[in-house]
């Protein structure tokens, strides 16, 4: 135990902040101009979510599944794994979240979970929309400002993991059935890991 306690967060970090932020630059360069359709899809998802149509829930769950699968493969599998051996394992967690989202979109009991008659609490609606707006529109700017990075290193929803996880928690909070809260576990774990990484910087 003493041995384990002798490690600080910083000791566990094997890359510099510069290398970490470089990943966003490299992934943005490699994926451009996918940012445009990805951004449009995010806006469409918010609109259909607001309408609360039956198909809307199914649509954005399936779309979120694709986003998580893509971020897992692209960010962790291709880029982050270059500076961290453990990124491959995180990639599997992102795929697990993608699978869960697909299961809820296509396999789960639609009658109970897609019921649009289920009223949502006021705070749940406020929290959900706030997290979505923060994840999609505000977090990328905040991150640039706090860490004094150039625009090319923008962390964008559906490309970078932090805004994707934040907005996913928001989307999940707006789902009618409580069973959906299981979808929050992996995004929350990732955000915890991400906060620890920033603390170690």
């Amino acid at each position: 135990m003493d041995f384990l306690q002798s490690f600080s967060l910083r000791d566990l970090l094997i890359f510099s902040p510069e290398s970490y932020f470089k990943l966003f630059e490299l992934s943005n360069k490699a994926l451009w101009p996918l940012h445009i359709p990805f951004g449009l899809l995010a806006i469409i998802a918010i609109v259909v979510l607001y309408k609360r149509q039956h198909f809307a829930t199914q649509f954005y769950l399936a779309w979120l599944g694709l986003v998580w699968g893509f971020v897992g493969y692209s960010y962790f599998g291709v880029f982050y794994s270059q500076i961290s051996t453990y990124a491959h394992y995180v990639n599997y967690f992102f795929w697990a979240e993608a699978l869960l989202l697909f299961l809820y979109a296509f396999v789960a009991n639609h009658e109970s979970i897609y019921s649009i008659k289920t009223p949502l609490g006021k705070w749940r609606i406020i929290s959900g929309y706030s997290l979505i707006v923060y994840g999609v529109f505000i977090h990328p700017m905040v991150s640039l400002f706090i860490w004094n990075q150039s625009i090319i290193r923008l962390e964008l929803f559906s490309i970078a993991p932090d805004p994707t996880a934040i907005a996913t928690i928001g989307f999940t909070l707006l789902l009618p059935a409580r069973g959906y809260l299981i979808l929050v576990v992996i995004p929350s774990l990732w955000l915890l890991l991400s906060i620890m990484t920033y603390q170690a910087f």
Binding site: S6, I14, T85
Partner: protein, 306 residues
């Protein structure tokens, strides 16, 4: 008489080894640099090497590769030789392989890496992967990283050394961890190098590890010389003491490194950096006089009271 005892005796009786057993060599610019002797072979090594933890773990990017190549060029020009890495350092080994120019840098390199796997069976495979990443025919020094599965790995490394696939065998620790186990290994195993944390604030190895190294003829590589940058960042807030001029030190990095390498049992220190200006400061510790015992005490007291 064992080889290393013989070498130590010869060096001592011929007066080559002076306190603190520093020898002067020259770098590419013809400037004198301080070196020390590897006790087990008599080979000389510049007292400042280069670590690759964090600074060489970067994603595939032409701009960064070009900058680090320049950094390594400067390192070799200023007289550096030993570069230390590990499979644990992400892409560091791969990037070193990309950034060390085939010629003439390669000919000056003293390559040091580690074996870092709990499976002894996978050790040889990991070493081969490292060798390919470094683009080296064979390593100068292979070390068991953080004493991980050390019994099995040491057997492999000693066997490799016997078959001339490797020149030196070592073992590493850091942050003052597992020093009791390290002592036992130093007392019982025929190793050439030990790597451990040593700087003006982390001086635990002065108690047992350094005396054993001196007695047994084991070279010491000091890691974390700046406590991952924290020590030199902290020191830079204060003016350099007047006596630094007598040691030809015009920056804190140089003074803090000279404190480390002036210990008679320490062979070299391996600061890591990404910046060429910082590298130049570090490498300036390769030249000029070393602090004597009284000056070392002054440095200790000064750091304690700052």
């Amino acid at each position: 008489m064992k080889r290393r005892q013989f070498i130590q005796t010869v060096l001592a009786t011929t007066g080559v080894v002076i306190a603190p057993n520093l020898l002067a060599a020259k770098n590419e610019n013809g400037a004198k640099i301080n070196t020390k002797v590897i006790p087990s072979s008599g080979e000389i090594l510049p007292v400042i090497g280069l670590g690759s933890f964090v600074n060489f773990n970067f994603p595939d990017d032409a701009e960064t590769i070009s900058q680090r190549t320049q950094l390594l060029d400067k390192f070799f020009i200023m007289g550096g030789k030993l570069i230390d890495s590990s499979p644990m350092y992400g892409s560091a080994e791969k990037n070193l392989g990309l950034c060390i120019r085939p010629d003439p840098a390669k000919s000056k390199l003293f390559s040091a890496t580690k074996v870092w796997t709990s499976s002894v069976e996978n050790g040889a495979k990991e070493i081969e992967t490292s060798r390919q990443l470094w683009k080296e025919d064979k390593f100068d020094l292979l070390q068991v990283h953080n004493l991980l599965s050390w019994q099995g790995h040491l057997e492999t490394l000693l066997e490799m050394k016997q078959q001339k696939q490797l020149r030196y065998v070592g073992i590493t620790t850091s942050h003052g961890r597992r020093h009791n186990d390290l002592e036992d290994i130093m007392l019982t195993q025929p190793i050439d190098f030990v790597q451990a944390t040593y700087n003006v604030r982390d001086r635990e190895i002065e108690q047992r590890i350094l005396p054993i190294a001196k007695e047994r003829g084991i070279a010491i590589i000091a890691n974390r010389p700046f406590q991952r940058g924290a020590l030199v960042d902290w020191a830079n807030k204060y003016p350099l003491p007047d006596f630094a001029k007598e040691l030809d030190c015009d920056n804190w990095a140089s003074l803090l490194l000279k404190y480390i390498i002036s210990h008679p049992a320490v062979t070299c220190a391996i600061p890591a950096t990404t910046r060429i200006d910082h590298l130049v400061e570090n490498m300036s510790a390769l030249s000029g006089p070393m602090p004597d015992k009284a000056t070392r005490t002054k440095i200790q007291n000064m750091v304690a009271h700052l």
